[in-house]
């Protein structure tokens, strides 16, 4: 071991180069006997942008508070940099939080707010000033040192809150719905800025949101949470294209979820017809749910395509039309298309085999991943 260290700073055991920084192992949290989080397992790597995504009350803030140290897990272990931190208080953790309401100290000006953590660490004044200026520069707030908090706009407060956190050079930055108070335009701009900031700083961001578009746009990896459980984790692309179950498919983007039957590998039947698909690893004649995204459905004249539907409603959504069509079996299909149709018109729908995603009932994430790997690996090799 010591030899490795002599030769290189990058030896495997060196905590500074270990990829994983935070690990949750079978973590559960109960409040007054009520289970809020159950069996949470994940690994957070250095330098990545993570998002916790889920509906209100699913436990996102609770997970952040466990990481920050404001809460102790009822069960399981949390490790930080390889060390057990279940009982380490927040002021002893190398994690900083950007609170949802920013929590900027109203009795201190911008400079003193940002300098707070440095003063606590008893840095000399001549060290504090350049660090604060650098942090403010990072968030594009040069020259705002002497402003009072009350005189800042929402977006500026948000930046001060970020500067106050990053000035301490934490290894992990936690952000609890930091954009939810901003208007749409500022919000989109801040999404881009936050992502750039994370890349420049090279530290881990753990970002909480209940906005799926935000999560898809910003993250390296998303954890989709529901009722205190992680339903699925993965890259935005994989979660969007291969949702594990109805909840994820529904929560992330719009989807058509239709009951079907897996006839054999790569052949599925739904809406009274048989289709080729790319999914496998199911039992023969297993009843499944299939997902097709509205934008993967292509409008065709009546009689063409793979499915015939009658248009029931149509909305103009700006970039595209949103139509609801009904097939002969009574399934509703949402279609996003730049072409329009008449209400009551019979049309055909075309989709590629790759557009069909088959979901097994009640499949765990591990089984799902294993099954996916088994054939995706084979496909691409």
């Amino acid at each position: 071991m010591w030899q490795g260290r002599c030769h290189s700073r990058y030896s495997a055991g060196d905590p500074m180069t270990e990829k994983t920084i935070i690990q949750f192992d079978h973590v559960a949290k109960r409040f007054d006997g009520e289970t809020i989080l159950r069996d949470i397992n994940f690994e957070i790597e250095r330098g990545k942008f993570y998002t916790l995504l889920g509906p209100s009350g699913c436990g996102k803030t609770t997970i952040l508070r466990l990481i920050a140290g404001f809460l102790e897990p009822s069960e399981g272990t949390i490790t930080f940099d390889g060390q057990l931190v279940n009982k380490i208080p927040p002021n002893k953790r190398q994690v900083n939080t950007v609170f949802q309401d920013y929590a900027l100290f109203p009795h201190l000006n911008v400079f003193e707010n940002v300098a707070f953590g440095l003063r606590i660490n008893k840095l000399a004044n001549k060290e504090i000033e350049p660090r604060v200026k650098e942090a403010l520069h990072f968030v594009n707030l040069d020259g705002y040192q002497n402003r009072e908090i009350a005189d800042l706009s929402g977006g500026q407060k948000q930046r001060v809150a970020i500067a106050r956190a990053i000035v301490n050079r934490p290894q992990v930055l936690l952000l609890d719905e930091p954009l939810s108070a901003l208007d749409l335009k500022l919000r989109t701009a801040m999404q881009v800025e936050l992502r750039q900031l994370q890349r420049r700083l090279g530290i881990t961001f753990i970002f909480v949101t209940h906005d799926q578009e935000e999560a898809l746009a910003m993250s390296d990896e998303i954890f989709v949470l529901n009722q205190g459980k992680i339903e699925q984790s993965g890259s935005p692309r994989s979660i969007y294209d291969e949702p594990i179950n109805r909840f994820v498919a529904d929560f992330i983007g719009e989807s058509n979820i239709i009951p079907g039957t897996m006839l054999r590998d790569r052949v599925v039947s739904f809406a009274g017809k048989t289709f080729d698909c790319v999914d496998q690893g199911f039992d023969e004649m297993e009843s499944v749910e299939i997902v097709i995204r509205p934008e993967d459905l292509e409008l065709k004249p009546q009689g063409e395509g793979m499915l015939q539907v009658r248009v029931e409603s149509q909305l103009f959504r700006g970039v595209h039309y949103e139509m609801i069509g009904k097939d002969a079996d009574g399934n509703s299909w949402m279609i996003h298309s730049t072409k329009s149709a008449q209400i009551g018109e019979a049309i055909g729908l075309f989709f590629e085999p790759e557009a069909i995603h088959v979901m097994r009932h009640g499949e765990t994430e591990e089984d799902f991943d294993r099954r996916l790997e088994s054939y995706e690996g084979a496909d691409h090799d």
Partner: protein, 267 residues
């Protein structure tokens, strides 16, 4: 129209303030310029700056400071604990309740408790410390005053602690602050308004205490309040009494100005 109406509504207040605030103050000021024979003079003001009255002033201010200090020392942590309690309303009620009892009654209760051969004295004797003179000392005066004033300090501090957003505390903690640093740099500064109101509510009445000085301190403590009482009721030197009152009022104005953001600024 609306302006006239609001003016009409103001009349009762203006009358009230005029009759019961402005007029008495004016009379106090007026009387302060007359000596005991009823001649106009500045002699009272000259007399105020003699050692007797200056010593009295210093002792009044000193005792008021002591009382305020100890009240704050006890009230702040109590108010803080109170915000963490489950049955806050009940506890708050229990703290407010004694203020409904007449001060005289409470003073007599303390005379009973602290007197020679009283329960406290007996307890001291039994514990081996030995009997001590407690009643009629500066200590008993401060002790009883602090007891009387504590609710008035707790309430404003409790209110400002209640209003304090817990996320400020968490933010400080998150930024590495210890419990003490969080208190010193965040909690206390953000509840300073409550502390100031509490200090006003205690310091000003403490400055003009008079009954307790006799009942509890046995005239060992002579404050400006006692002197005013003495001049009006015993020596009948209303002029001198009024002069001391003028200085007391000035002191109160100074305190309120120092404690800022009180009602003085709003006027």
């Amino acid at each position: 129209m609306t302006k006239k109406l609001t003016n009409t509504y103001l009349i009762p207040y203006v009358l009230w303030i005029g009759l019961f605030v402005i007029a008495p103050l004016a009379m106090v000021l007026y009387y302060s310029f007359f000596d005991i024979q009823g001649h106009f003079s500045f002699e009272n003001y000259v007399r105020f700056f003699t050692p007797i009255y200056l010593r009295m002033t210093v002792s009044s201010i000193g005792y008021a400071c002591l009382i305020t200090f100890f009240t704050l020392l006890i009230a702040y942590p109590t108010a803080y604990l109170l915000t963490k309690m489950k049955n806050r309303r009940l506890w708050l009620m229990l703290i407010i309740l004694p203020t409904w009892i007449n001060v005289l009654l409470k003073a007599y209760a303390f005379i009973g408790l602290l007197s020679t051969y009283g329960p406290v004295d007996t307890l001291l004797a039994l514990s081996g410390i030995g009997r001590k003179q407690i009643l009629f000392t500066g200590f008993s005066f401060v002790f009883v005053s602090v007891y009387l004033f504590i609710p008035f300090m707790i309430l404003p501090i409790y209110n400002s602690l209640e209003k304090l957003n817990n996320s400020f505390v968490e933010a400080a903690y998150d930024l590495g602050a210890s419990a003490w640093a969080t208190f010193r740099r965040v909690i206390f500064p953000l509840t300073l308004e409550g502390v100031k109101s509490g200090v006003q509510a205690v310091f000003i009445p403490a400055l003009s205490l008079f009954m307790l000085t006799r009942l509890i301190a046995g005239n060992r403590v002579i404050t400006l309040g006692t002197a005013i009482e003495e001049h009006f009721l015993v020596t009948q030197d209303w002029g001198m009494g009024a002069t001391i009152a003028v200085f007391l009022i000035l002191a109160m104005i100074v305190v309120m100005a120092l404690m800022g953001k009180g009602w003085l600024k709003r006027w």
